[in-house]
C-alpha cells in the first residue's frame, strides 16, 4: 500500500505533468514560427490570380474565423484544451475542413505498423546476435559480424534508404515506388501480402541500422557481463554454455535493453520522415513535415500530442516494471 502511495501515485502525477508541459510547449512553439497559416492559405489560393486587397481582407477574416485563430493566445489555449478533452483535435488548415483525427487516422496505422515491426524485429535480432558475439568474442563469425556491423552502423540512414531504393527499384526493378499496399483495405490474402510487399524495402532499411545499433549495445553489455564471477563459476561447474548465455547472461543485460525498447516504441508515433519521403510510404511523418512548413497548427498539435503521450506512457510503464525486472533495485 505504501508502495502505491510513495511511488506509483507520484509517478502517475509526473506522467500527467509531463504530458501537460509537453503539450503546452507544443501549443506555443509553432505559433512562434514566422509562418502565418492564414497568409499561407491566402497565398496558395491566390498564387495564380491577383486579388483585390479588399477581397483578400475579407478572406483573411473568414479564414481566421474558420481556423479558430481569432482571440488572444490565452483564449485559443483554453478553447484548445476544451476541444482536446472532448477528443477533438480540430480541423486541419491546409486541408480544411478535414478533421485532424481523420488525417492522423489515415496515416498512423502505416507508421505504427512499419516502425513497430521494424523496431521489434531489429531488437530481437540485435540482442541475439550481439549477445552471442559478446559471449564468444573470439570466434571467427563473431568478429566478421562485428566488422560488418560497425561498417553499416555509421552510414547515415538517408543513404542506406536511398541506396536500397536505387538498387531494388531501378537497377533491379523488383519493388514498387510508392504507396503502402495495393487496393483497398480488406482481410484478403491479396491485400495483406501487398502490405508486406510494399513495406518490405522501407522496413529493411530501418532494420539494418537499428539491428546494428542493438548489436553493438548487446555486445558491449554481454562482454562486460561475461567476465563476471558467476559466469566463470558456472563455466567451471560445467553448466552448458547455451544455458549460461540464455538464462543468466542475457537476462542480466535485459534492463537497459528493455528500457530502450520501451522508449523506442514510444517514439514511433513521431513517424519516420525520411523513410516516408524516400519510399513514398503513407505514414504521418511526411504529413507532419508539411504541416510544420505551412504552420498547420492543428496537425502539428495532433501528431506531436500522440508522440508525447506515447513516449511519456512508455517511460511510465518502464519505471513501473523496473523493480520487477531487477530485484536489486529497491525504490527509495
Amino acid at each position: 500500500m505504501t508502495l502505491l502511495r510513495t511511488y506509483i501515485l507520484p509517478r502517475i502525477l509526473q506522467w500527467v505533468f509531463v504530458i501537460f508541459v509537453g503539450v503546452s510547449i507544443t501549443f506555443l512553439i509553432p505559433r512562434l514560427s514566422p509562418v502565418n497559416p492564414v497568409e499561407n492559405m491566402i497565398g496558395r489560393l491566390t498564387s495564380f490570380q491577383s486579388m483585390d486587397p479588399e477581397a483578400s481582407n475579407r478572406m483573411r477574416e473568414t479564414l481566421t474565423d474558420l481556423y479558430g485563430l481569432d482571440g488572444s493566445m490565452l483564449d485559443q489555449y483554453i478553447s484548445f484544451w476544451g476541444r482536446l478533452l472532448r477528443g477533438d483535435l480540430g480541423p486541419s488548415f491546409q486541408n480544411f475542413p478535414r478533421p485532424v483525427n481523420d488525417i492522423i487516422g489515415d496515416g498512423i496505422w502505416w507508421t505504427v505498423g512499419l516502425l513497430g515491426t521494424a523496431t521489434l524485429v531489429s531488437w530481437v535480432l540485435g540482442i541475439l546476435l550481439g549477445s552471442l558475439a559478446g559471449y564468444f568474442p573470439n570466434s571467427l563469425w563473431a568478429q566478421f559480424l562485428e566488422k560488418t556491423v560497425i561498417t553499416i552502423y555509421p552510414i547515415p540512414y538517408y543513404i542506406v534508404a536511398f541506396v536500397m531504393l536505387m538498387l531494388f527499384t531501378f537497377y533491379i526493378p523488383a519493388f514498387p515506388l510508392v504507396g503502402g499496399a495495393r487496393g483497398t483495405p480488406a482481410l484478403t490474402w491479396d491485400y495483406i501480402s501487398s502490405v508486406l510487399y510494399f513495406g518490405f524495402l522501407p522496413a529493411m532499411s530501418i532494420i539494418l541500422g537499428s539491428t546494428a545499433f542493438r548489436f553493438i549495445m548487446a555486445k558491449a553489455l554481454t562482454s562486460t557481463e561475461a567476465s563476471s564471477d558467476y559466469v566463470r563459476y558456472a563455466e567451471l561447474a560445467a553448466v552448458p554454455q547455451r544455458k549460461i548465455l540464455l538464462y543468466y547472461v542475457i537476462r542480466n543485460t535485459m534492463l537497459p535493453q528493455v528500457t530502450d525498447l520501451a522508449l523506442s516504441l514510444g517514439t514511433i508515433f513521431g513517424g519516420a520522415l525520411i523513410t516516408e519521403i524516400v519510399f513514398g510510404y503513407p505514414g504521418v511523418g511526411y504529413v507532419l513535415f508539411n504541416a510544420i512548413n505551412s504552420a498547420d497548427y492543428n496537425i502539428i498539435m495532433g501528431i506531436t500530442l500522440l508522440s508525447i503521450v506515447g513516449i511519456a506512457t512508455a517511460s511510465l510503464l518502464v519505471d513501473m516494471i523496473y523493480p520487477f525486472l531487477d530485484p536489486r533495485v529497491r525504490l527509495r
Binding site: 509526473q14 504530458i19 510547449i25 512562434l32 552510414i155 510544420i292 502539428i300 517511460s315 527509495r332
Partner: protein, 287 residues
Amino acid sequence: MFTTLRDLLRYSLSFRFGTIILLFAALLIVLSFFSPYEPDDRRAVARNEAPSSEFIFGTTSQGQDVFWMLTFAIRNTLIIAGIAVTIGRGIGVMVGMLSGYIGGMFDRIVSSIVDSFIVIPRLPLLILIASIMRGQMTIFALGLMIGVLDWAYPSKRYRAQVLSLREREFTHTAVFSGMSSWKIVIQEHLPFIVPFLLADIVSGFLFAIGIEVTLSILGLSDTDTQSIGSMIYWGNYYQSLLTNKVWVLIAPIGASIVIVIGFYLVSVGLSDYLDPRKRLLRLQVKE
C-alpha cells in the same frame, strides 16, 4: 598518463587501429587549412572527373575537388558533433547519475524535467527552430542545439545504471565510510559507467552526424558550409547516384564510416582497459 597510452598502443590492437584512423582524420583536418581552394569555390577545377591521380576523389558537377571539400567537411562535422556530444553527454551523465543516486524528491523533480524534455519530438522541433532562425544557423549554433536536444535520453540510461550500482556492496561500504554522494558518484560509480559512456559517445557522434545529415537533406542547415551532411545533400541534388557519379557520395559516406570506426575502436580499447571487472581479468591472465 603517457605510460597508460603507451601500454594501450602496444597491447590493444583495437586502440592502435582506432588511434591511427583518428590521427589520419586529424591530419585531414590540418590539411584543410592548407587547401588550395576556398570551401565555397565553385568552378575551381574541371567538372565531373572520376577519381584519378590528379583528383584523388574526383570532382563534382560544380567543379569542386572532392578531396579538399572533404577536409573541410570532416572539420566542420567533427566540430558540430564534438560540441553536441560534449554538451549532451556532459549534462546527461551528471544529471542522470546524480538524480539516480540521490533519489527521493530530487530524483522525482529532475526526472519530470528530463521526461518533459524527452517527450517533445526532436526532429519537428529542429525543423521549427531552423525555420524560425531563417537561414542564420551557424555550425556552432547547430552543435549547441543538437547537444541540448540529446542529453535527456542518455541521462535516463545513466540513471538506470546508477540505480543498479547504488545497491551494490561497495556502494554501501563507501557510504558507511563517510564518503560524500558527489565523491561516490565520481570515484566509485563513474568507472563502471565509463565503458557504457564511451559506447554512448560513439552513438552521440553518430546521432549528431545523422541529424546534421537529415537537416541538410531537408535543406534546413547551412548548406553553404561544407559538412558531411551538405556534401551528401549536394551530391543528391545533382543526382550523383542516378547519373553514376557515385564518387561524389562515396567520399563523405566513406569518411564518416571510417571516422566512426576509429572512434569505436578507440572506445573499445579504452573501455577494456578501464572497466574494473575486465582489469581484474587482465591482471590475472597477463604477466
